[in-house]
Amino acid sequence: MIELGELAVKKALELGATEAEAYLIKGKQFYVALENNDIKLAKSQIMDGIGIRVFKNKSLGFASVNTFSQDKVMSAVSNAVRLANLTPKDDANSMPSISNNYTQVQGIFDSNAEKIGMDEVLKFAQRMLATALKFDSRITVDSGIFAGGFGENAVVNSKGIKLAEMASSFDFGIMGMAHDKGEVSCFQYEFDTTHNIADINVENVAMIFAKKVISSLGAKKGESFTGSIILEPDVFADMLGVIIAAASANNIQKKMSRLVGQLNKQIAVSGLTIEDNGLIAGGAATSTFDREGVARLPLKIIDKGVLTSYLYNTYCANKDKSQSTGHAVGGTRGLPSIGPSNIIVNAGNKSQADLIKEIKRGLYVTRLSAQPNPVSGDFSGVVKGGFLISDGEFKTPVIETMISGNIFNLLNQISGLSLEQKKVMSFLVPYCRIEDVSITSG
């Protein structure tokens, strides 16, 4: 792959580009889909792709193609250079150079993945399905997947970067609802991902899903009040996603963020620390280098409530006359943007059970259907699989109950994080308790 990348970069320079980069991915995947309590389809796929980014005297061009056939790759290269002839000059357009601070990561490639066939993938999918259905006859698995595969990605640029890395991945999840005497519960789902075959636990995912869906049966209209909420790690992770996106240097520079001007300021309670670390062994988003070939390094985003860093790719770093933090993300079909790798939120000092016990009047939230405004942080969402809490105890599950507020403001209303942390894809997150939240029932 590196050879093809080099060829593409060389061709781009010959056509007049002053800097050029090729990002390549190849992979193989087996996939079994579930539908309506049964196997739906088995699918095998081979993926090839190359994205060519060029700068011609600081003007940008990009093209991609999903094949390694040489004539098509060369035609994508000339398309990219052609576009660079049209676009305006931007002084921040320059590519990273090779550095010597790469840390070889562990646990992202299981060589046994190359031997896995469709038969094994089918068995994992069947086990996941059977576990969920056996838990309770009222459960319907609407859909689900088990996908396993491996691949390699590579970055080659005209400033000396020539890097490639193999990774395997197994992604599996299940979604559905429960039926009881004419009642249909709300949707619930559970997903997991791992690089290693030994860590695949389809039964665990199926059990979490099954428990969630059964406990959401019998939901009644809630009450309107202002009180405490407990967010399950999945919901807390979603909310933190908004905060982390707001810390992207691109959003800061474009003034599309509430965190503009907040660097080194207290933006959350002092009990909250959020770290990004792309080097954790076996982490879902672990890699040696980012989409541009810049080395991954651990980075504290929020330290004891203080915003300590924004996330940078090379373009945004150039604009701020700073260094990339190794957070360029993306695939072969687009320009490198900015995103987190693995996110770790510190654990608190009380168990989840104790956090609940201390609540006089509140709501426990297992899923929140909300579309927060990514810029302002305002949100108003319907609680799915929520429970009223009264005097420290779970009461009825609720429907048609909304919570609303502002995610940035809620960071200052956190009154506790749990000792327990849960892996939610590339996030490791505790349960979170927040005070004074507006809860409305229709």
């Binding site: 309506n36 088995a42 081979i46 990009f62 089918l122 579309q371 810029v375 319907v382 229709g442």
Partner: protein, 461 residues
């Protein structure tokens, strides 16, 4: 290519069904934000998707290499997968409904092909629009303009007779501002997405009109109050009617979902909405964004009445679920790219126009709200939904009052349909810049008239 595909059909001998779909997609995008080129890309994503059925097991494989030997290899991989799938399948009675499959060439109406216009011209348009937008008001913190186009050519060949070529052309134009008065922030979006050519894209609104709309709205929203949460009479505009029709109702009538026990299961022939509500899904709606002349199983699409005057009439099917329910396929099997297998998806979904004027409908409201424009949302298995509106106006004693911001609407979609007591006499497709996600993307549209109903209004308190 069609002859190559026909020639390799014999590889499916001894197999129940084989389907080959060559799909070539050029997708171009230009995006400028705050005066800077954010994206310019030309992507070519092409290949052949192979789907096959063997003893009730489905197998799928795809290849980006289109020479005969590679296509034959993909067929053999798909057959191997179907055999594995068949071993695990509990329901062994999978059949495909018989229907006349598409043959020949299909192309929507395209006025002034997108390829008549150069990348330079499109870049210039985005640049100029963003330049004007950026300077249109002092409240603008960030501005962005995006042009995107998808140019498709598909060839679909099946072992039971489909042999067609399908051309498609879907451009989008999107204008966005993020504005602030120093203390508070609002955003405002205006977008169009259609099926057709350059002349069709800007037929209703010129680029400058987009600027006026987003800036005026942002200015007004910054001065607006937040609503208080309450159940109320609500008038929804065509874009919100489209969103509810698609997101909260449409998904619950997709037959794959019905089989899994959606809330509409067993409800055909029963009342699910007021008699003013006729709701449909159609592939043949001219320049609407979800127009699809032939689906990805080779079924010619048509208009399907889902709810007729409040009575549930039909689900949305592929050939497999049509056979299961004993009905005709509805042409809803869609795949986003060659490497995706066709699944049941909507196309253009909406509510038919009624008889009253919007003014009359507003005049009939004592206390309530008029909601306009969508900002996304979600719906659930039980048709419970929550959508955000761009604008909301309070109505008091039949008169439109102050603009409110941060307004959401929620409820149970079928309860909302049953509460519909007025439907306006106009109709508009207004969701065409949207994509629907269900394991894979699809280009869809939604629309309708204004409707008056009852739902929960929410917002920041």
């Amino acid at each position: 290519m069609i002859n190559i595909l026909k020639n390799v059909l014999s590889e499916f001998d001894g197999i129940d069904y084989g389907e080959l779909r060559y799909h070539e997609r050029i997708s171009n995008v230009i995006s400028i934000r705050k005066g800077e080129l954010e994206t310019i890309a030309s992507n070519n994503y092409s290949g052949v998707g192979v789907r096959t059925l063997y003893q009730s097991g489905w197998g799928f494989s795809s290849t980006s290499r289109t020479d005969i030997s590679e296509i034959k290899q993909a067929i053999s991989d798909a057959i191997a997968s179907a055999k594995v799938s068949s071993q695990g399948k509990k329901n062994k009675s999978i059949k495909l409904a018989k229907v006349n499959l598409a043959q020949g060439k299909f192309q929507p109406t395209i006025n002034d092909a997108l390829t008549n216009h150069t990348f330079e011209e499109k870049l210039e348009l985005v640049k100029k629009t963003e330049e004007k937008l950026k300077n249109a008001s002092s409240i603008i913190q960030s501005s962005s303009v995006v042009y995107r186009e998808m140019l498709d050519k598909k060839i679909i060949v099946t072992t039971d007779g489909a042999a067609c070529e399908v051309i498609d052309s879907k451009p989008e134009f999107r204008v966005f501002v993020f504005a602030s008065n120093g203390k508070e922030y609002v955003e405002s979006i205006e977008a169009v997405g259609i099926t057709g050519g350059w002349a069709d894209l800007f037929q209703e609104k010129k680029p400058d009109d987009f600027i006026d709309i987003v800036v005026r709205r942002a200015e007004a929203l910054l001065k607006a109050e937040y609503p208080k949460g309450e159940r109320s009479a609500v008038i929804l505009d065509p874009s919100l009617v489209g969103l509810i029709s698609h997101e909260a109702i449409g998904h619950t009538v997709e037959a794959d979902f019905v089989l899994s026990g959606a809330i509409t299961k067993g409800k055909i022939g029963t009342r699910v909405g007021s008699d003013l509500v006729t709701l449909f899904d159609s592939g043949a709606e001219g320049s609407a964004g979800g127009t699809l002349l032939v689906d990805d199983e080779g079924v010619i699409t048509k208009k399907i009445i889902i709810i007729d005057k409040g009575i549930l009439k039909s689900y949305l099917h592929n050939r497999e679920t049509a056979a299961e329910f004993g009905v005709e396929p509805t042409g809803n099997a869609r795949a986003f790219e060659y490497s995706d297998e066709p699944i049941i998806r909507m196309r253009n979904t909406g509510i038919e126009r009624g008889k009253q004027s919007l003014d009359e409908i507003i005049a009939g409201v004592k206390q309530g709200y008029l909601l306009k424009g969508t900002k996304g949302g979600q719906a659930d298995a039980n048709a419970e939904f929550m959508f955000a509106a761009q604008e909301a106006y309070r109505i008091t004693d039949g008169k439109l009052g102050a603009l409110l911001r941060g307004v959401t609407i929620s409820g149970q979609a079928f309860d909302v349909l049953k509460s519909v007591d007025a439907v306006s006499d106009d109709f508009k497709w207004d969701m065409g810049s949207g994509y629907c996600g269900k394991w894979q993307y699809a280009k869809v549209d939604g629309g309708g008239p204004y409707i008056r109903c009852n739902a929960i209004i929410g917002g920041r308190q």
